[in-house]
Structures are given as C-alpha cells and as structure tokens.
C-alpha cells in the first residue's frame, strides 16, 4: 500500500504539468458539452477525439480522453435534471428525483447535489484504485459467467423488488424492456432475434434512442398537454440554492457512503455505472428514512445514483488497465486507444508503464476536482435556460433529442424509433406504467441473459452452479433474499396488522 502511495506521488509529478492541466480542462469542458447533448455521449466523444491522440504521447492522450469521460459524466446529469433527458445511460436514475426538483424550482440545488456527490463518489473510487490496485485486479479475475449473472441479478433485485407501482404494470414494463433488449444478433446462439428481416434492426434497438424517446419526447408531450409552460420551474438565478445545497450536503453522508460502496463494487466486478446507479437508487429508497419521498424531488434520490455512477465510472478503470475488461462502452473505446498507442493492457502494464498508469491515476484526482469546479460554474448558465419561454425551449429540446437520436448510430431509422418511443412514453405515463423497470431490463437484461446461458452451458443445465463457490453463492443468496423481501415484508405487515386488529378494542359500530 505504501509503495502505491509512492507511485502515486510519482504519478502526480507526471500529471502536474501546465500542458497536462490544460488538457484536463479542455477534456472536461468538451466532456460536459458532449454529456449535455443526449445521444452524443461519452463513447462517441472519446471516439471522435481518438484520432487526435495518435500524435500525442500515451500519458497526455489518456489524460485528455479520461478527462473528457469525467466531463461527460457530469454533463450527463445536467439534462437529466433540467429536462428529464438523460445525457448518458448512467444518468437515467438521476431523472427520478432530479427532474421533480427542477420542476419545483430547485434546479440549481439539484444540480449542485448531483455534481458534488458525483465528485465525492469519483474520489472514493480513485482512492480505492490507488490503495488496492493489486488486490482488486485479482479479485475481478474470479468473475466467471455465474458470478456475472449473480451480480446482475443482485442489481436487478435491489432496484426492482421494492416496486413502486402496481405489480402487474411493473411486470409488463419489465417484459417490454427484456423484449427490446434482446433484439438483434444473439451472442449465444448466433441467430437473429426479433429483427423481422429488417436490416435496421440487426443492430437491435439502441438503449439511448429509447431513453431519448421515453423520457425526453414523452415528457415534452406531457408538458404540452398540461399547458405550454414549465410548471413551477422558476428560472430565477438562485445562487442561494447552490449554497443551501452545499451546506446541507454533510447531512447526506450515509447516502454518499452507501452510493460510493455500491459504485466501487459495481465498477470493480464490473457491472458498470448504469447498473450501479439503479442499484444505489433502489437501495437508498428502501433503506433511507426519506424513502417514501423518493420520486417527488428528494435530494437523496439525486445523491444516491450520482455517487454510485461516478464511483463505478472511476473504479472501472482498474479492471480495464490490469485485465483489459472494459466496464463500459467508453472504456472499450479507450482500450482500443491503448493498443494504438502501443500499450498492451494486462498485469504487466502496472510494472512496465509506471509513468502511464500512475500518471493517469493522478490525473483522475485532478480531473475530477477540475470537473466539479467547472460543472458547478455551469449551474447558473444551465439553470437560466429554464427561464427561457417554452415556445423557444420546447422546439430546441425536440431538435436536441432528434439530433441526439440520430447521432447514436447515424441512422435515420432511429429518428422514427425515437418518435415512436416518445408517444409510447407519453401513453405509459398517462396509464401509470413505470418506465424505470423497462429501462433497467433493457440495460442489463441482455447481459444477464448471456451470463445465465453461459453458466448453463458450463454446468450442463444445473442451477447449482449459482451456488458452486462461496463468492457466487453469497451473491445469489443475497439477490434471492432481496427478491423475496417485498413478499416477506408484505406477509409480516399483514400479520402485524391482523395481530394489531385482534388486540385493538373493536371499533364502535363495527
């Protein structure tokens, strides 16, 4: 551990040059921009910048690209909160409470909560990487298909099990999500599923397009119906909101801690930032004292997913460098970059490329601090956007949404999909179908299915493989408990009430 601190100091000496600091600022600013635009997103941003890095030395190149990633993570939360349009898949969970807060005129508060907690989550992630790099890398190796499936099931169970809406509607929403998620070529059987011989569907349906439609356009339709005005979203520039949020931040230390733990865990295993944010939100809703107020503009509902999202984003860099496992789409692109710069990800990277690895880790500290500062500086600017009249901002949102949907794959077909999902989102909201289960099922359903079928191939069809060693056994058991929790608590609740009824004196007239 001490040698790691030495190495980190060496890393700072590599990263702390004017040139590198400039790259971090540039990267973060660009990142915030691509993060704010839905559909563009971090993976596309990194891909666009990649050719620029061919002529750089690897340390500068990775600093630029990772800074852009941090910036995009911050920027992605902005539009989730202001317009209910997640700029990044991992900021979907931020919309659940962030957007209601914005509608109550607490936009700058919500943004401040989001950025500060994201910054803290990121720092926790980096500290873990710094101190435990060797142990963590070998831990990640223990994850085979059954372990992956158990992790996904756990993420899934912790978000879904407490269920907000009507159970049947939740199941319909889930089933739709699984259905959309499985379109395209199946990894395990190699056959095309649900593509109806339409070439555009080979790709499957992009999760981002669905989100842009369901959340962005769907919300816009609702707004139009309710009167062409942002209800209650007072556009006043409110520096006091920011200060208030900063001052009350310490009160939420439990949420921050829980979110960081979930995030680091999901980043390392690696379940990815999106699953982490959902899982953290679900856990917070169940365990927090403020749980009942979730979904109506509760700050903790912003803090929980944001902390986990960033903690996962940063800690996922470790399996990427040491094992070559990309934890997210963005780190997959960066992996490609590593190879082009002439580096081979693997355990030897930490020994042979100390400048690169530790320079990058040091830059993660600096980049995220710069990220928080720059993101906070943009709060007044973005909050002011809410005061623009709807007749101007409405069309702008539609344009941004459609441009975003097009950018995902450069396919005109996706524009129609986005519009269709916009209408679907509007209808689902009107009919009280929850959207979150659909989104979650789309994101991890596909991966969970692969992992499950791979496990079944390995065990020739025996479910026992999910309890075949202590690690996977523990994960599966916790997941199963979470799934049964609502059932158990309903039973317990029923017994308690019936007991209370027996003990209570009969009501007069009963």
């Amino acid at each position: 551990m001490l040698s790691n601190l030495d190495a980190l100091m060496h890393g700072f000496s590599v990263a702390l040059t004017a040139h590198h600091l400039l790259l971090m600022v540039a990267g973060v600013l660009l990142g915030i921009l691509v993060g704010v635009l839905p559909g563009l997103g971090a993976p596309n941003g990194v891909t666009l910048l990649l050719p620029l890095t061919f002529s750089m030395d690897p340390v500068s190149a990775i600093i630029l690209l990772t800074s852009l990633y941090w910036g995009a993570l911050f920027g992605g939360s902005t539009t989730s909160i202001l317009f209910n349009i997640p700029g990044e898949p991992s900021s979907v969970a931020t919309t659940f409470d962030g957007y209601p807060m914005a509608r109550q005129g607490r936009a700058s508060e919500a943004l401040t909560y989001a950025f500060v907690s994201a910054g803290i989550g990121a720092l926790v992630g980096i500290v873990v990487i710094t101190l435990l790099s060797s142990a963590v890398a070998s831990f990640a190796l223990r994850f085979g298909p059954p372990e992956y499936f158990a992790v996904y099931l756990l993420a899934f169970a912790s978000f879904i099990a407490f269920g907000g809406g009507a159970p049947l509607k939740t199941i319909v929403s889930l089933a739709l999500g699984f259905g959309f998620g499985m379109m395209g070529m199946d990894t395990v059987s190699g056959s095309m599923r649900l593509t109806f011989d339409i070439p555009e569907l080979i790709r499957g349906i992009s999760f981002l397009v669905v989100v842009i439609g369901l959340f962005g356009l769907g919300e816009l339709l609702l707004t139009i119906e309710e009167g062409p005005e942002f209800k209650g979203a007072s556009g006043r520039l409110d520096p006091r909101g920011m200060l208030r949020a900063l001052a009350s931040m310490p009160r939420y230390w439990v949420a921050v801690l829980r979110g960081s733990a979930v995030g680091v865990w999901m980043g390392i295993t690696p379940g990815g930032p999106t699953a982490a944010s959902f899982m953290s939100y679900g856990l917070a809703r169940r365990t927090s004292r403020n749980g009942v107020r979730f979904g109506q503009g509760e700050p903790e509902g912003v803090i929980a997913p944001e902390t986990a999202d960033h903690a996962a984003g940063t800690s996922a860099m470790l399996p990427m460098l040491s094992l070559g496992i990309p934890g997210s789409a963005t780190s997959a692109v960066m992996l490609g970059g590593l190879m082009i710069w002439g580096l081979n990800p693997g355990p030897m990277l930490f020994i042979e490329q100390r400048d690169f690895v530790w320079g990058m880790i040091a830059s993660m500290y600096l980049g995220n601090v710069i990220g928080v500062i720059l993101a906070l500086a943009t709060v007044p600017l973005f909050a002011a956007m809410l005061s623009v009249s709807f007749s101007i901002i409405g069309p702008v949102i539609v344009t941004v949404c459609l441009v975003g949907a097009y950018t995902v794959a450069g396919a005109p077909f996706d524009l129609w999909l986005a519009v269709a999902f916009g209408v679907a989102g509007y209808l689902m909201k009107k009919l009280d179908y929850p959207l979150a289960p659909l989104v979650l099922a789309m994101v991890i359903g596909d991966k969970a299915e692969d992992a499950f079928r791979q496990s079944m191939l390995m065990s020739s069809g025996s479910l026992g493989v999910l309890w075949s060693n202590p690690l996977v056994g523990t994960l599966s058991t916790i997941a199963a408990l979470f799934l049964l929790w609502p059932l158990a608590s309903a039973l317990l609740g029923w017994r308690r009430t019936s007991k209370a009824m027996r003990l209570a004196p009969p009501e007069p007239g009963a």
């Binding site: 891909t47 050719p51 085979g144 070439p199 692109v333 490609g336 081979n344 355990p347």
Partner: protein, 333 residues
Amino acid sequence: MRMFPKAAAVIGTALSVALPAAAQPAWQPTRPVEFVVTSGAGGGTDLFARTVQAAITRHNLVPTSIVVTNKGAGSGAEGFVYGRGAQGDPHKVIFGTNNEWLLPLVARVAWKPLDLTPVTAMAFDEFMLWVKEDAPHRTGADLVAAARERPGALRMGGSQTRDTDQTLTLLIQKATGTRFTYIPFRGGGEVGVQLAGGHIDANTNNPSESVGGWRGGQVRPVCVFRREPLPVGPRVTETQSWSDVPTCASQGIAVEEFRMPRTVFLPPTVPPAAQAYWTDVMRRVSETPEWKDYIQRTAQSAALLAPAEMREMMEREERSARELYGPEGWLVN
C-alpha cells in the same frame, strides 16, 4: 524509387489496364472518406482500421479527411449491410475479416459475399491454443489427451457463435476425435480474461488478444495453427518469443493452418479506377513504419492480396466452410 515497379504491378493486377506511370491517379477522393469498421470500438478490426487511418494521416496518403465509424452489430453484419447500401460510393471503405463471406452462410443477412468490391487483404491474424498458466496441460498434446479422457468435460471459450473460434474448435474436434464444450463470449478480450480466471480450460485467441495475459503470467500458448512457427522476433515474456510456440500439427492436432485475413472492401459497382486507387493507398500503408510496427506487435503475418487473388480466396474458403458447416446444421443459405 525502389517501390515503383511493385506499385505498377499491384495496379496492373487490379485493373489489368496499363496506367501511365507518373500521371495523376484516375480517381481520387473529393470529399471526406468514411472507414466503416465491422466490429465494435476496441475490437480487432477496429484496431486494424485505426492503424490504417493513423498511417494515412501521418504520411498524408489521402488528400481528404477520414472518419472512422463503428458498425459492428451482429458480428459485423451491420457494417456490411451499410456498405452494400452505399452502392457505387467509393468514399466508403469497409474493413472486415473473413466474416464478409462466412457470416452469410450461417446467418440470415442482407448481402451476398460477392456483392462488395474486394480491395485487398493486408494481413493474416494467427490463432493459438491457450491454457491457463498453471494448467496441468503443458503441451497441446496433453490438452487433447485430457479431452479424450473425459469427452465434453473441458470448456473451450471463444468469441461469438458459429464464428472463427467455434469453427476452429470444430476443426480441432474433427482432427483429434475429441469433444469440448464450447462457450461463446462477446469478444476475444473477455475470453482471455475468463481463461486467466480459470472459468474455461482453453481458448483459441489471436496472439494480440492474449499477449497481455501471457506477459503477466496468467495464460500461455501451447501451439499455433500455422504450417511453421512464427518468424523469430523480439522476446515477449522474459524467456520466450512468439517463435518459441510450436505448431499444433507437431502436437498431434492435425489442423495445418487456420488464420483470419484482415480485409478491405468497397461498396458494389464502384468505378475500377477507385478500386485501383484504394489498392494503391493500402499498398503504401503497408510500407509505413506504423503498419510494420502494428504487424509485429500483434504477431500477424503481413500480406497484400490483389483483388483477383482475394476473390479466389473468398470462393475457396466459402466452399470448404460449406463442407464443414453442412453436417453441423449451421448453414442457413
């Protein structure tokens, strides 16, 4: 000056028309060029295309700018369908492997192998048989013996289904009379990590997919599917280089040669002059230090197939694939 006759030869085979040697090319790009990559970002084909892009940019081989787009869904089907749709547009260059002609055999996709215009195959990626560092099998022969003892008990990992890795597994099984349980994953990197973690017993990764794990003492190659060992090069681990890996045939696995071409295509019905132009650009790329470095680092074998040779290879491979896949029930077309 030295390269000049070679250039003329390549253009000659490409066009079978004599071009005036020093004149302006008959066709050259007039707007930005799109490199369509038939794999996801970070995949082998992505690295191939981006290396070509980097070489072109650094040596100014193409007058306009180049954009790389990843269309890797459905094992690359997305990119090939896109390329086929861009009929007659020589500003789109499609990068792939042998999936261009093998995928239409096993999946229902909207193109036929000979639809696209072949440009060249620039390299052949090798396949090796890998085991975990501390596996009891020291050699390829050991592994086969273990598989023979307990049919189906050993797990062979690979990327995708009915793709090159599973094809090779099939060939190994036929050649040795053994049976492995094949488990498909999303990509070579993932397969490598699964082997390092001991969740599978062997895989058939390309050298570049597992070089990090070999150097880090997690996995080791037991043999290479090649007629002779790889040429002598610098050391990869402290004691060994790629040339120290014996051929699989010498280990009693009678699969003489199995390799995957890195291919370049243009959309259908592009002017022959454009085909010649890109053939020449790729030839010049293959002479850059960036390309040579890429070939060495990824332990591939350099090649430069003329379009006619490539077409011949496509037809030959398709025939043998049909023979192999037919009895397995893999063929859909």
